[in-house]
């Protein structure tokens, strides 16, 4: 598991370095000189590894939280964790490989700064990591657990669903593990395949007692993560790994909170409501531009941010206005969280709907490797679904 994670990390760094840098390194080694041609010299799109399916749109610099600094998403996470450990002497961070900085560099520098009793590795055991985290939280201390990839959260499913989520309820509020937060890299990354690309939020959406939160950007990530850590309920915070380096914007250095269970209307519109979370927010944002340009359609774009408990009111208010709803996520269609949104919206806004609610999601398959570009709900699929809704 760890070896693959390092490979993925390395691949992400290579992607950031650019195709030229990659080939420069190989030429320097002398082994492949004259044998392999750099992809860019070829010009054949089919041979090139694909470019990202989205364009990250930074939000304007936030002015109300003091001094800001340019941060990417993993740096924003580090900043949130740094703030948390500074403020809360009981807070500890643990998981596989967090001590040296983590396979995605989210915990770099924290062990040196706060000590090895506060930032430490655990054995390779997700059910242990979460169970251990619950126990820390039961004593009232703050537990920040890392699951290396969301794809590996399943061994901890019993501890999350049967224990963490139910701790307060089953004890009549004598005990709780509200100070537990689980963080995990989430979503497609271009080459992650079955076990480094999953978006498992739907499994947890069905579990009363926990909160599931997914940020779209560095600024959102820090504020939402801080809210999860301070929230008095166990939270799962999924971090879109493809955004760790790709998303860069100005982020406040000081701590700040973004409220949970509040969706954000990031662009107002009148004809269609587009709902997404995480990376997909940037996809649907682009779809909104395409719709405006090509169809003269005005889209309202909503970032759901918290999956459960979700902000029904904001979404319904928007659909009452627009009459059309498109929900999009990478996770497979059947049983995906778009089903829940669709079902609730049609209950609450039936007479306002001008067209059936559209879901543009991953196919009902495991997440494939070489076929990723075909699998993901990209802007063309979303655009096409939107067009059909408009013409319904």
């Amino acid at each position: 598991m760890a070896a693959t994670a390092v490979t993925v990390g390395r691949l992400l760094r290579l992607r950031a370095a650019g195709a030229e840098g990659h080939w420069r390194r190989l030429r320097g080694a002398g082994l492949l000189r004259g044998f392999l041609q750099p992809a860019s010299a070829d010009g054949d799109a089919a041979q090139r590894r694909q470019v990202a399916h989205f364009t990250f749109q930074p939000d304007p610099e936030p002015l109300e939280y003091g001094q800001t600094q340019k941060m990417n998403l993993f740096q924003a996470v580090t900043s949130a964790l740094d703030n948390s450990l500074a403020k809360d002497p009981t807070a500890v961070i643990f998981g596989e490989d967090v001590a040296f900085g983590g396979v995605f560099r989210c915990t770099v520098g924290l062990r040196d700064k706060y000590g090895k009793d506060r930032v430490f590795n655990t054995p390779l055991c997700e059910q242990g990591i979460v169970g251990f985290g619950i126990g820390i939280a039961v004593t009232g201390a703050t537990a920040i657990a890392e699951i290396q990839f969301a794809d590996y959260i399943f061994p901890a499913f019993d501890q999350i669903v049967n224990e963490a989520a139910k701790y307060r309820y089953r004890s009549g509020d004598l005990f709780n593990c509200g100070s537990l937060t689980i963080r995990s890299p989430w979503g497609c990354v271009g080459h992650g395949a079955l076990y480094h690309s999953q978006s498992p939020e739907a499994f947890f959406a069905h579990c009363p007692g926990i909160k599931v939160v997914i940020p779209r950007s560095p600024f959102q990530a820090k504020g939402l993560l801080l809210s999860c850590i301070e929230d008095k309920n166990p939270c799962i915070f999924f971090e879109p790994k493809i955004l760790y380096r790709a998303a860069v914007e100005q982020v406040p250095i000081e701590p700040y909170n973004i409220p949970l269970s509040q969706a954000e209307v990031i662009q107002e519109g009148s004809d269609v409501t587009l709902v997404a979370w995480g990376t997909q927010v940037h996809v649907v944002r682009e779809v909104a531009s395409m719709a405006h340009e090509k169809l003269g359609v005005s889209c309202e774009v909503i970032d759901l941010r918290t999956i459960i408990p979700w902000d029904v009111d904001t979404v319904c208010k928007s659909v009452i206005k627009t009459g059309r709803l498109l929900v999009s996520h990478e996770a497979p269609l059947t049983g995906g969280f778009a089903s829940e949104i669709s079902s609730t919206v049609q209950e609450e806004c039936f007479l306002n709907l001008e067209a059936p609610i559209s879901r543009v999601c991953g196919y009902d398959t495991p997440f494939p490797h070489i076929f990723e570009q075909f699998y993901i709900p990209d802007k063309w699929k979303c655009y096409d679904a939107l067009r059909k809704m408009i013409n319904y």
Partner: protein, 444 residues
């Protein structure tokens, strides 16, 4: 084949080398020198031919030998009293004061009495479910007595005696079983899922072994807080098969946590005997595999349990390391009211333990030989304890159940909007259809 496989492991991939050649070659530099005198040897900077592997601290051996698990002559069982309650080795007698030993006895017998009455109440349809503790009272009381009252307890479900030793009142045991308005758990769980914040007893949950890694986390937090607190985690030998047990043991050792793992090995996991639960030497033998100090004790000897727990507690807190105590005992009762154990074990077997090796009888013999108890006191106490239990029982039965609105609270610390809507929906439903629901038994 095993030899070739072992040799292949030493030499790496056997492709291209031939199996026969592998069988003849011996591992180690000396072997190489003999077969290929002209090949240059690569020397490490150390002149010693010692293993350098980060994964184990051990010497080389050139004899192929598998370690034999020892199950015929397993880890010995520590005891203080014989089956007749006589001290075997006086230096092991904890010399506890009369008052304390009487408390042991009264706790175990009161628990036994409560078990009889509540088991019967389930048979009569008064409560929905019950689990007795017959035969294991010694494991509860001996260990509870060795702890500080603020040491945090994570249990499985058969540790009511620990709570009872901490003076959890009969009224609250009954309230939880009846799910009435006095239940601190607000009626949410099946009977015997006790919890008490005041007495540092974490609420029981049904999934097995989930408490084990949690207890380790709590111990880690206690260590960081310099709380001078030990965490004790109870579980049965069946639960010890769960992955969570392995996770808990490994984490406790690697993260150096002040925790006592207390395994009640009572011979059965519902109908599954230990021969179908494990093939090694019980649970105690697993401890050393994790680097954990371990002991096996006679769980029906309350002083043995006491001594082992006391020493484990002292060292766990002083040295910040885990201890594993496997208390051998026997589950005299059925697994629960949903079980009839005559389906899988003989009455004779059960009777042996009930009559010949029972923690309560052994302690009574000890008390009597000290002159601290006699038949008259026994008779009086039986009458008194039964009266106490019956009174609490009758009161618990008369009380109302909590308001149905409590179905919705404590899911989160605050009630989410959507859940409040569902709560309102039920309220409206009951207004219209209330006659079909037993609302008279519930508070408004």
């Amino acid at each position: 084949m095993a030899v070739a496989a072992a040799a292949a492991r030493v030499w790496g991939s056997s492709r291209g080398l031939g199996r026969v050649g592998l069988l003849l070659r011996r591992p180690g530099a000396r072997g190489l020198a003999r077969s290929h005198p002209q090949r240059q040897q690569q020397h490490f900077s150390s002149l010693d031919d010692k293993p350098q592997f980060p994964g184990a601290s051990a010497e080389f051996i050139d004899k192929l030998e598998f370690i034999q698990p020892n199950v015929i002559s397993g880890i010995p069982i520590y005891r203080v009293m014989d089956r007749q309650g006589q001290i075997i080795n006086p230096s092991e007698d904890p010399h506890l004061p009369q008052e304390k030993v009487l408390k042991f006895y009264k706790t175990m017998t009161l628990l036994n009495t409560m078990d009889r009455i509540l088991y019967e109440s389930q048979r009569q349809g008064r409560i929905s479910f019950y689990m007795t503790n017959y035969g294991e009272e010694g494991t509860h009381v001996g260990s509870a007595a060795a702890l500080d009252s603020t040491d945090l307890v994570f249990g499985q479900y058969r540790e009511a005696g620990v709570l009872m030793y901490r003076n959890y009142p009969l009224e609250l045991f009954m309230a939880q079983c009846y799910g009435n308005v006095s239940d601190l758990g607000k009626g949410r769980q099946m009977p015997v899922h006790y919890g008490c914040r005041e007495r540092h007893f974490v609420t029981i949950s049904s999934p097995l072994a989930t408490q084990i890694p949690q207890a380790v986390g709590a111990a880690y937090a206690a260590k960081r807080a310099n709380a001078n607190r030990v965490i004790i985690c109870y579980f049965g030998e069946g639960a010890a098969s769960e992955g969570d047990a392995h996770a808990g043991f490994n984490f406790a050792a690697t993260l150096e946590c002040p925790i006592i793992f207390f395994c009640r090995n009572n011979g059965y996991a519902i109908s599954t005997p230990t021969s179908e639960q494990y093939r090694g030497d019980g649970i105690a033998a697993r401890g050393p595999g994790y680097g954990i100090l371990s002991i096996r004790v006679d769980g029906n000897d309350v002083f043995a349990v006491y001594n082992a727990t006391k020493e484990a507690r002292r060292r766990a807190v002083a040295e910040n390391q885990p201890f594993l105590i496997e208390a051998m005992t026997y589950r005299i009762g059925h697994h629960s009211t949903s079980d009839d154990s005559s389906a899988y074990r003989s009455v004779d077997e059960v009777n042996y333990w009930d009559k010949q090796d029972h923690p309560i009888s052994r302690l009574r013999h000890y008390l009597q030989s000290c002159g601290w108890w006699d038949d008259e006191q026994e008779k009086a106490w039986r009458k008194q304890s039964r009266k106490k239990v019956m009174e609490a029982f009758e009161q618990a039965e008369r009380k109302l159940k909590p308001s149905p609105s409590l179905l919705f609270s404590d899911v989160y610390q605050e009630m989410p909007t959507q859940l409040r809507k569902q709560q309102e929906s039920l309220a409206r439903h009951l207004q219209a259809y209330g006659e079909h629901y037993p609302l008279d038994h519930f508070e408004k």
